[in-house]
């Protein structure tokens, strides 16, 4: 199969690679870009372990071809921390014991990141619905809800912090 050149921004860095048309974004990220945070848990787009953020939306990268991301801004779990500082969602999952085996965690984090941007002050029900595209077999979701609530609170507090000169 012949290859196409695809160019996109991944975690703020421009990348340009030759890929087959049929290469899924999740394989492009994991194998070409060596960003193995996004995981593969199914082939029917149910589990959400492959969730990334593309142009401001949560997307399951197993259901998207790399060539469809031409010119896009792609954010993976590896891009959440900035300057060595964990993002509030990462801090929340750590503080509230929102992970056990860790396999669903990157997808959960990238989804929570976008969910809280869309809904900064969610109710518990809204969190459960908002995160329902990501399956977990270990936690029973209860602490994941608390993790997202922790992150929501932290993001709201940080947003109100005075900006220092």
């Amino acid at each position: 199969m012949s290859k196409k050149i695809v160019s996109m921004n991944v975690n703020g860095k421009k990348v340009e690679e030759a890929v087959e048309s049929r290469t899924l974004l999740v394989h492009f990220l994991r194998e070409k870009m060596n960003l193995t945070g996004a995981h593969i848990g199914c082939e029917t787009s149910h589990c959400g372990a492959c969730t990334v953020d593309i142009d401001g939306e949560s997307v399951k990268s197993c259901t998207c071809f790399a060539v469809q991301c031409e010119g896009s801004e792609v954010l993976t779990v590896e891009g959440l921390a900035q300057g060595g500082v964990l993002h509030a969602v990462q801090e929340g999952f750590y503080q509230e014991h929102g992970l056990q085996c860790g396999f669903c965690t990157p997808g959960m984090l990238v989804r929570a990141y976008r969910f809280l941007k869309d809904n900064p002050n969610p109710t518990e029900d809204e969190i459960r619905v908002g995160m329902s595209g990501n399956l977990c077999r270990c936690t029973g979701y209860q602490n994941i809800v608390k993790a997202v609530q922790y992150a929501a609170k932290k993001l709201r507090e940080d947003a109100h912090k005075p900006v220092t000169a």
Partner: protein
Amino acid sequence: MNAPDRKAALQGMGDSRLRKEDARFIQGKGNYVDDIKLPGMVHMDIVRSPLAHARIKKINKEKALAIPGVIAVLTADDLKPLKLHWMPTLAGDVAAVLADEKVHFQMQEVAVVLADDRYIAADGVEAVEVEYEELPVVIDPFKALEKDAPVLREDLAGKTEGAHGQRYHHNHIFTWDAGDKEATDAAFKSAPVTVSEKLLYPRVHPCPLETCGAVASFDPVRGELTTYMTSQAPHVVRTVVSMLSGIPESKVRIVSPDIGGGFGNKVGVYPGYVCAIVSSIVLGRPVKWIEDRIENLSSTAFARDYHMTGELAATADGKILGLRTHVIADHGAFDACADPTKFPAGLFHICSGSYDIPAAHCTVEGVYTNKAPGGVAYRCSFRVTEAVYLIERMVDVLAQKLNMDKAEIRKKNFIRKEQFPYTSAFGFEYDSGDYHTALDKVLDAVDYKALRAEQAAKRADPNCPTLMGIGLVTFTEVVGAGPTKMCDILGVGMFDSCEIRVHPTGSAIARMGTITQGQGHQTTYAQIIATELGIPSEVIQVEEGDTSTAPYGLGTYGSRSTPVAGAAIAMAARKIHAKAKKLAAHLLEVGENDLEWEIDRFKVKGNAEKFKTMSEIAWAAYNKPPAGMEPGLEAVHYYDPPNFTFPFGIYLCVVDIDKGTGETKIRRFYALDDCGTRINPMIIEGQIHGGLTEGFAVAMGQLLSFDAQGNIQGNTLMDYFLPTAVETPHWETDFTVTPSPHHPIGAKGVAESPHVGSIPTFTAAMVDAFAHLGVTHLEMPHTAYRIWKELKAHGLTH
């Protein structure tokens, strides 16, 4: 720092400290098998049978081999010269690695394709042509035992003796029994009341989020084999691989890296692993095999498929006199059940449960069918899920027959606190328990009387739109396999191990023979050592899973890590502690008897100013040992447990069933667990949430079924019920602490209790909702459709 502050600084036993392993997972830096890339690595994919029972007439590799990038196609014929086309199973049977002349279940492995990348390997799989001649299919295990049922295992023709005794039919595997048949039959003959119920525990699958896989890498220069594998038991795999391949065990290295959930699914040795290893040896290059979800659900070890008949004999006022049960166990095409060798039905004989039953007997018969091989401990310590389901259902059946309250009948029959250690009618010696206290705690917490009053009021109201059910389960598990005199896997006794090395500057590294798959060992094991040695858990590195560095162990499943490896950890730490005491005495120039241990230091009795911390002692161990003492500060311990452990729990569930639709709302689920000593309450609570959620899925929606042609149904996440955050109920957790008297830190293990205990609790609640209409049992899963049919049958809906 004062003593309480020093204790807190250790973050040892009992501390809900945050987890040490989280840092890599929250930054996407975990190291799972599919993350591993080795230079020159090729990909392997599997050609699978579309038919459940058929002869293989011809396999045509040509079209596949013609695809650019396809390197090789292997079938059973290629494995025959190596005698690897069949392999021994954990249950004393043999299983095909690649189908040899016939296939026995849909999706069975028939050939493997090796290619430059996974896409080309998949192309190759589609291009392999296999001609089959269909054979009659057997799906029903009862029909499988009929006189003229089709022969499934032609390879066992004429073999009337199996690994577990006589085989009386070509599709029969074993008959196993426990207890006293005569005493039990006598009890039933003379009992005033007997009840009987058929109870199916349907076939489900552990479905961890990460599927199974391996990266096998044979180095032809060194003659060494390294295999990264999703394995819950890497040392056993190493021994088996050495025996099968002929490579000396010292040149075989199995590495279980980060594992994305196991739940028992990753205990067995699958054809994919064997083929990846063989391919790597043949090619001299690394070979990666990662299965997809459909493959995982269709071909890897399933769980349950126990067709049980339960019977209880009792007095007229509800005192149980006898328990009898018969089980037909559907093992699929090969008995690949992961059980200790002597127990083909696992620890099913824990089925007398939390009750003082004088006479009991159980019989389990294993049967072959045209389904995937297995079964497995799906978070249940070897058939304990089935045993607990059986006894808890039967106690409710008896309660309903006698019109007795379901809590009262349990109190009446509980083993009393004073009776521990208690030997059951099946010969288990329960270590400790206090069921009455725990039950009272739960009944108070939920205001049980008020719930029953509410239920009565709702039953009396014909306009009430819901049926309300209250499910109560009071379970005892048997975990922590196990004493080597009783428990072995393929001949290796089920001990476990720990080695600890304290560094000169006071931090430490420790390795064990178990392997975490999310249970938090890197944190909880460090906490045990922290309390034993007075070193902060933050600086104790815990490693598992690399057979070249970790001491030999039997792995993690069956809730055995804390009971067995946790004990080894404490014992190894105590060896170091004893040496440290000698060193401290030498440094302080006193006798050992003049010293007392306080949190992180040895103090001279009556002279608080004179002490040596473990940190100071560590330094001295490397430069100032007294004459006759070896330098260094380390120890290893292999622990052979004297007994199993017996965690228990009291679970109560309230359901409201919509009379019109059959949809069930879980209004409340209260779970009290007693796992003895609690190492990290936060981690325990997380495990409970997870296990309850799995139990909810099993009871309310999971099922792997087969049609008459042996087509497996529901083997994708389109159909296999994995609840999201929306369906999953809110869980309430509670605890009591009844330590195990034989365990060095009194801990029993906990992670499987919520799965084992919750499943019958949901069924109990569903049945209780219909109990006033004479319903004594409802089969799982309790989907809305099934419940709607039940409502219709009672004229409650149309």
